[in-house]
């Protein structure tokens, strides 16, 4: 028996779980306010553009999105198995590729700003 390479998947999952816990509730709250018609000042075009224009802002936005996507993809993979979906390899490939595609898209959009 050999040691598994699972840490490649699990470590970003754990990091992403921490990022989700700390950042996602408040970000959802902000866009919820926008959805209710009260767009917070920090979410208007000028502020968001200024944030995404800075190097640190780009890094922060990318980090939150990429790690949260990865963490969700991995947990969803385990959830599919727990619900009885036994095609684990296929589920894993689809979800990890989707998370990677989402992260690459986020990076491309950020670099365009």
């Amino acid at each position: 028996m050999a040691k598994s390479n699972k840490p490649i998947i699990w470590f970003p999952f754990a990091a992403g779980g921490t990022v989700i816990a700390f950042f996602i509730p408040v970000i959802v709250l902000l866009t919820l306010l926008a959805a209710l018609g009260h767009v917070p000042a920090g979410l208007d075009y000028a502020s968001m553009h200024a944030l995404a224009d800075s190097g640190l802002g780009k890094l922060l936005i990318f980090g939150v999105i990429a790690l949260s996507l990865w963490s969700s993809a991995h947990r969803l993979r385990c959830t599919c198995y727990d619900f009885g979906l036994r095609a684990d390899k296929l589920v894993a490939n689809v979800l990890y590729l989707a998370a990677a595609a989402g992260s690459i898209a986020a990076a491309v959009y950020l670099l365009r700003i």
Binding site: M1, A2, K3, S4, N5, K6, P7, I8, W10, F11, A14, C78, Y81, D82
Partner: protein, 247 residues
């Protein structure tokens, strides 16, 4: 002592004649402050001598009398009758093959326990004449909680991942490996990691946490397994990203 009429629905299986298990209803009068094991003993003594189950110490130390009581893995000597109303449903431990009635085969757990080397592997051999291995109270406290495991297998009966994926090494065995890995006198971590950091090891755990909720000895295997995941991840990054494998 005040007596109460207890109704039990006990799972029966006779490997010589049955192809499936069935439930049998018993009614027996027991002292209020008794436990489910007392009720089973009274049934065996006064109603049905053919009923099979394991028990030994009657004091939550030996770990033999684990069963599912109303769907919850419990030591039957530690399941107090006063906490149950109505019919008490008694089944053998989930996730293990049933040998007869409430008796399950523990072989899979025993085999896994052996594989994780749950004993001290000294860093270097030392003759008895060289004296004892000294340990500070802080070093003892570091692993003490994990020494309390009584191998009762309730955590295996509670763990859905073990039920779904029986090759999973499981909570108690990995928690015991962690117990020795945390021991300042031990040098066997690398050998144990080969087993517990494998695909069948800690990575099958999705942190349901049921193991710790049912553990009668408060070992908290879920905690041990999360620590093993973090330590194994750090190992992996050291081995693959640092020159010389981080040694």
């Amino acid at each position: 002592m005040k007596e109460r009429l207890i109704q039990l629905e006990v799972m029966r299986y006779n490997p010589d004649t049955d192809t499936a298990a069935h439930f049998q209803r018993y009614e027996v009068s027991c002292p209020e402050e008794g436990v489910v094991l007392d009720a089973l003993n009274k049934i065996k003594e006064t109603i049905d001598p053919t009923l099979n189950y394991r028990w030994s110490c009657h004091m939550a130390v030996c770990g033999s009398c684990g069963m599912m009581i109303n769907g919850e893995p419990k030591l039957s000597c530690h399941a107090f009758l006063r906490e149950y109303a109505g019919v008490i449903r008694v089944e053998p431990l989930a996730h293990f093959p049933i040998e007869r009635d409430l008796v399950t085969a523990p072989d899979d757990f025993i085999e896994k326990l052996k594989r994780v080397k749950p004993y001290l592997i000294p860093k270097e051999p030392k003759p008895i004449s060289a004296g004892e291995y000294l340990q500070t109270p802080a070093q003892l406290k570091r692993y003490h909680q994990y020494t309390l495991c009584i191998n009762c297998m309730l955590c295996y009966a509670a763990c859905p991942e073990y039920g779904l994926t029986p090759k999973f090494i499981g909570p108690a065995a990995i928690a015991l490996a962690h117990r020795y890995n945390q021991d300042s006198r031990d040098g066997g971590r690398d050998e144990r990691q080969e087993i517990i950091a494998s695909a069948e090891g800690v990575w099958e755990c999705t942190f349901v946490g049921a193991c710790s909720e049912v553990c009668p000895a408060h070992v908290d295997p879920a905690s041990a397994l999360q620590q093993v995941k973090i330590a194994s991840s750090i190992d992996w990054f050291k081995e693959h990203l640092l020159p010389g494998g981080g040694k």
